[in-house]
């Protein structure tokens, strides 16, 4: 605990220091990142110790806020979520120092770093809090600091809109959480987490609390259709912040949901069905919308929605397992979901940081303006490719492991009795398969268009590789993708305690063994694959060693003068799929074709705005505003009538209270 407190102290104090020295950007650029990294070390140590050796430590201090206690604890679950938070924050800080250098003197870096460290600290506090008020305070600080980070370039209109959307969404979500916590606290009259278990006695209230949690935490995590803030806010923020937000901050929503499940007692089946449906919808629609984007960071943001969907599928299958008394399935499902939390944190932050480097080097996020960057930015390109493969769930990388576990759970559920259970399992399987294929499509598109082929515009021609501070985190994260991928059997040993917390300790050994064998073979295949690959590569070079190897232009199919702009763009690459799923996407196409004998410029552009925003939120908000504006006559400025209000109020009250 002392270590954790130390980490919190370091983060918060350095944050405040950054604000204090806001006038001196150089100094701030030192304090901020260094503080973030130094602060993360003790937390990292403490969390990993808690996870490996498993002592549940906690700290309980009375606090003068009504209903509040400064209660924090480090159990397996908290430790498990602490690790990615700490890791990603530290790496993002290292990256951010160099990323923000161009802004020195132009932007308020002091505030930015202050908010960054506050964000890190509050996220840690969220996963450690053991009291509702403390949790909510940390939760709100987290939202607020990330909001300020999103508003980094607030002079742009779309950034302001993004910030507004984000804060409104997260605040509405919090409203649901407020209600939920009050409900949970009512049986015992205390807002400490330890006393929340009593609600399990009343299934109806528990279900209500579950729904509230799904909405409240789902808004933060980005479940469809509460995800609407996500594709707005993540692109708007600076890339290292996007990495933190998309990599770990939205996971606090998952943490909250899981933590809540611990209090609610045995879940009825429909909770699982609900989560499976949400997961399937978020996953498939998320990846489809990602496919339709051509703004790199927006694309990645939608992939966060998709991966949250996968995680939720895992949790949902797990809940069904619990509900239908298949502890093994439950354990596998939860294991898959939770493992995917970490995996997504790793490769998503890798991809966001990579996209940041691209943005840094080329100044554009427009995929269709890029190309051929692999030659000018080899490290970034290679690591981005690893991340792309990992997020597409391809072996031997980490993405495959967690998806495999979820598949495993779902397939095991096929053996269960009860048509609805089997159908749910089938839904999970199909959506996972679809997501896998589409994700691969989306990331071949992204990677291929940005890093392969030739530069499509001046932006990309003169790109230069980012500095060491920006490359190191990329390499480290890419390495992690591979390590987790091939060391899966060990990894699941590590998350055993977490899963046992959720699925009940009894089945612990069994599920781990059941999962260990396949994962071991998967790992072997992975290694074998690499070996085979190396072998074949050497064979190839050996064959070519004594032969003539020449260079020329790409085979142009007899076309005389091909130009880089004739390459397939990302939009055209994705076009068949987006057309096929057109009804779900509502893509807007603007086309002005060539006309006349000497046609001048023709143009074609597509835009895929968010469905739920267009079809639901905008109309609803508009309607509400219209309804409100209908009441403006109340304040018409005529004194006589104002006084009439007084009289009428008097009479109304008299009639109401004394009429009977």
């Amino acid at each position: 605990m002392t270590l954790i407190l130390m980490a919190l102290a370091i983060w918060f104090t350095t944050g405040v220091l950054c604000l204090a020295f806001a006038r001196r950007p150089r100094l701030v650029q030192m304090i901020g990142p260094v503080g973030a990294v130094v602060g993360s070390l003790p937390a990292l140590f403490d969390a990993s110790r808690a996870l490996l050796t498993g002592p549940v430590t906690s700290l309980y201090l009375p606090w003068s806020l009504p209903g509040a206690n400064f209660a924090i604890g480090m159990d397996a679950l908290s430790a498990f979520f602490t690790l990615p938070i700490v890791l990603i924050c530290a790496l993002a800080a290292i990256y951010g120092r160099e990323y923000l250098r161009p802004y020195e003197g132009r932007k308020a870096l002091g505030a930015s770093w202050c908010m960054f460290n506050l964000l890190a600290g509050s996220m840690l506090l969220v996963v450690l809090a053991r009291n509702a008020v403390l949790f909510l305070l940390a939760w709100e600080v987290m939202s607020l600091s990330s909001f300020f980070l999103v508003m980094f370039e607030g002079e742009k209109a779309d950034v302001r809109r993004a910030g507004w959307t984000y804060l409104v969404a997260t605040h509405i979500g919090t409203a649901f959480l407020l209600v939920m916590f009050v409900l949970l606290g009512q049986p015992s009259g205390s807002l400490d987490f330890d006393d929340f278990g009593q609600i399990a006695g009343t299934p109806a209230v528990a279900s209500l609390a579950f729904v509230l949690a799904v909405v409240g935490f789902g808004t933060k995590a980005g479940f469809m259709p509460f995800h609407v803030w996500l594709p707005e806010a993540h692109p708007a923020a600076p890339s290292h912040v996007s990495a933190v937000m998309s990599g770990v901050m939205i996971k606090t929503g998952i943490y909250g949901l899981v933590r809540t499940l611990l209090w609610l007692g045995p879940p009825p089946l429909w909770w699982g069905y609900l989560l499976v449906v949400i997961g399937a919808v978020s996953g498939v629609l998320g990846v489809l919308f990602a496919l339709a984007q051509h703004d790199l960071k927006r694309l990645l943001a939608y992939h966060s929605v998709e991966n949250i969907g996968i995680i939720v599928l895992g949790l949902g299958v797990g809940l069904i397992g619990l509900g239908s008394h298949h502890p093994l399935v439950a354990a596998l499902g939860f294991a898959g979901g939770l493992l995917h939390v970490v995996n997504h944190a790793i490769f998503k932050s890798l991809l966001f940081l990579g996209s940041g480097s691209v943005l840094h080097a080329t100044g554009t996020r427009e995929i269709d303006h890029l190309g051929g960057l692999l030659k000018s930015m080899p490290t970034t390109g290679a690591t981005f490719m690893v991340g792309a493969a990992a997020i597409s769930g391809l072996p031997p990388l980490n993405g495959f492991v967690s998806e495999f576990l979820i598949y495993f759970a779902a397939f095991s559920l096929l053996g269960a009795s009860g048509i609805p259970v089997i159908v749910a399992a089938l839904v999970a399987i199909v959506s996972l398969a679809l997501i896998g294929g589409l994700a691969a499509a989306c990331f071949t598109k992204a990677f291929g268009t940005i890093f392969l082929g030739e530069a499509r515009s001046g932006h990309a021609k003169h790109a230069r590789e980012a500095g060491p501070c920006m490359r190191a985190p990329l390499i480290l994260l890419a390495g992690l993708c591979l390590i987790i991928g091939v060391s899966a059997p060990l990894v699941i040993r590590v998350i055993e305690p977490v899963v046992s917390q959720l699925a009940g300790a009894t089945e612990l050994g069994e599920w781990a063994c059941t999962a260990a064998l396949p994962l071991a073979i998967v790992a072997c295949v992975g290694v074998g694959l690499l070996a085979l690959f190396v072998m074949l590569a050497t064979v190839r070079s050996a064959l070519l060693a004594r032969r003539l190897v020449d260079e020329s232009g790409t085979w142009d199919c007899g076309y005389i003068a091909p130009t880089p702009r004739m390459q397939y763009t990302a939009s055209s690459f994705a076009d068949p799929l987006t057309r096929f799923f057109g009804p779900l996407l509502g893509t807007r196409r603007k086309f002005s074709g060539p006309r006349g004998f000497f046609p001048d410029s023709a143009s074609y552009s597509t835009e895929t705005p968010d469905m739920s925003r267009e079809r639901f939120y905008k109309p609803v908000f508009g309607a509400v505003e219209g309804a409100l504006s209908k009441f403006h006559w109340i304040q018409h400025g005529r004194l006589n009538l104002y006084i009439l209000y007084i009289v009428l109020t008097l009479l109304a009250l008299l009639a109401w209270k004394l009429g009977k």
């Binding site: 305070l137 607030g154 605040h171 908000f621 409100l628 109340i634 004194l639 104002y642 007084i646």
Partner: protein, 493 residues
């Protein structure tokens, strides 16, 4: 007790005398400085009184005319806090007007005299034990502050003043009818002087005629509610707040409204006792509270004048307080805590709005953009206080609103809770949009940056720091004081 007794009359007398003296001020600056310093001194005296009450229970003196218990002491403390802030802010605010001769000596004298006058009147309301005297105080605040609205005569200011004057006079007159009815209700068992003494009315042995008490309370709620700006009696409020100079607006929303609400709180336990503590009177407060929140929400969404926006926020928060008190139980505690938070926060926001209004020459939020650059001090404090007003953690208002929600759910008032959340949500969405554009939108025509003194930074940020502190840690004495005050309202959490 005896040693402490002299303080209460002094609290009324001193400002009254100072009101007279300040008519002799030589220069405008002198008048304002005297105002600020004297207010601070009086605040210290009041502090002693509050401490007395906190430690040794209620003060009563001059034959029961003056009386100070935890409830009034708590309000007194808030009043002092607000007035000290406003006093010093006035010096900052009028600096420019003095420089370019708008704020002449004549004006300054009148301003300061009226200022002390309303100060005295509010103190009178808080320290008097006699409901009649209390009423006199309330009416006096109306009349004295009326001229503060139109220190600078303009058509709009005059109109605002007239509406304020007439509505509040009418309302408060109704309140007086209510007080008479209360006296009538008690006339069976009490007589003469005692009939209006709160301490006597609270005496459990006294039997009141329930029907009359009910009628009386309705008159009181409507009457004082008008002054407190509860919807639908709030119509004067946005006009008055938007037209008066910033220090006055700050004082208005900072405490004038609470003075009136305080009077309702005073009468609430009497009614509850007479009607058998079945929440007969609380119900009314809940309804008016919810109504105020919703009405405020309606106008906040489409508001462009920053001071009117803040005025409607006052309606909203007074509604929240009324709701909390109406819910009873934990709600009362939360409401009292919210009173403090709102007063501090609202004063600050009016400071910022006033200074920036001077700089931009308008209160139209569509033109007041990029405030943090124009005035790093006042801009940030305005944005900060706006965020606090819409209930962003970790500011204290978040805590008190959370507690009120908790109270609502504990009392099983689910509809109230739902409407409460809806109202707050709408307010949040509306006001956040304004705040964001004020903070970040690049200005069409950038005014010259406002030069500020370090002391001003202190004035601008201290209240926010206070709110932040209260949001994270409530000092035990304060907590105890609020609990005592809640106990006066018959609630023992």
């Amino acid at each position: 007790m005896l040693t402490a007794g002299w303080m209460l009359p002094a609290l009324v007398a001193a400002p009254a005398v100072l009101a007279g003296l300040s008519l002799l001020a030589r220069t405008p600056r002198a008048a304002l400085w005297v105002g600020a310093v004297a207010t601070t001194v009086i605040a210290l005296v009041a502090g002693c009184a509050v401490a007395q009450v906190f430690m040794h229970g209620p003060l009563e003196c001059v034959g029961g005319w003056f009386f100070l218990d935890a409830l009034s002491a708590y309000h007194l403390a808030i009043l002092m806090l607000v007035f000290v802030f406003c006093g010093f802010f006035a010096i900052v605010y009028f600096r420019e007007e003095i420089a370019n001769g708008v704020f002449t000596r004549k004006l300054a004298r009148r301003y300061q005299a009226l200022w002390f006058g309303s100060f005295a009147a509010m103190n009178l309301v808080l320290v008097s034990n006699n409901l009649g005297v209390m009423w006199v105080g309330v009416e006096a605040t109306t009349l004295l502050s009326a001229f503060l609205i139109c220190i600078h005569v303009s058509p709009a200011a005059l109109e605002a003043m007239w509406k304020y004057l007439l509505m509040c006079s009418v309302g408060v007159a109704l309140a007086f009818a209510g007080i008479l009815l209360l006296a009538a209700a008690s006339s069976a068992s009490l007589s003469g002087h005692d009939a209006l003494l709160w301490t006597r009315l609270m005496n459990p042995s006294v039997t009141l005629n329930p029907v009359l008490v009910k009628v009386a309370f309705i008159f009181l709620v409507v009457g004082f509610g008008t002054k407190a700006g509860l919807a639908p009696l709030h119509s004067w409020l946005p006009d008055a707040h938007s037209q008066s100079p910033a220090p006055v607006s700050a004082m208005f929303s900072g405490f004038l409204l609470n003075t009136a609400l305080y009077c309702i709180l005073r009468c609430l336990p009497i009614v509850e006792a007479a009607t058998g503590n079945r929440g007969w009177g609380r119900e009314i407060l809940v309804v008016l509270g919810i109504l105020s929140i919703l009405v405020a929400a309606v106008f906040i969404v489409a508001q462009h004048d920053v001071k009117r926006l803040l005025a409607y926020h006052s309606v909203e928060h007074l509604g929240i307080i009324a709701l909390g008190v109406g819910l009873g139980g934990l709600g009362v505690w939360a409401a009292l805590f919210h009173t403090l938070n709102h007063s501090v926060c609202k004063a600050t926001s009016f400071f910022g709005a006033g200074m920036l209004g001077q700089t931009y020459g308008t209160h139209d939020m569509r033109r007041m953009t990029d405030v943090a650059r124009v005035s790093p001090v006042w801009g940030t404090s305005l944005i900060g206080s706006l965020l606090a007003l819409i209930g962003i953690a970790p500011f204290a208002l978040f805590i008190s609103e959370f507690l009120i929600l908790k109270a609502a759910l504990n009392e099983k008032a689910y509809l109230a809770a739902a409407l409460f959340l809806t109202g707050l949500g709408i307010v949040f969405i509306g006001a956040l949009g304004h705040a964001i554009s004020m903070a970040w939108k690049p200005p069409a025509t950038a005014p010259r940056p406002l030069r500020t003194h370090h002391a001003e930074a202190l004035l601008a940020w201290t209240p926010l720091a206070l709110l932040l502190l209260l949001g994270l840690w409530i000092p035990a004495p304060l907590r105890a004081l609020i609990t005592q005050a809640a106990a006066v309202l018959g609630v023992t959490p």
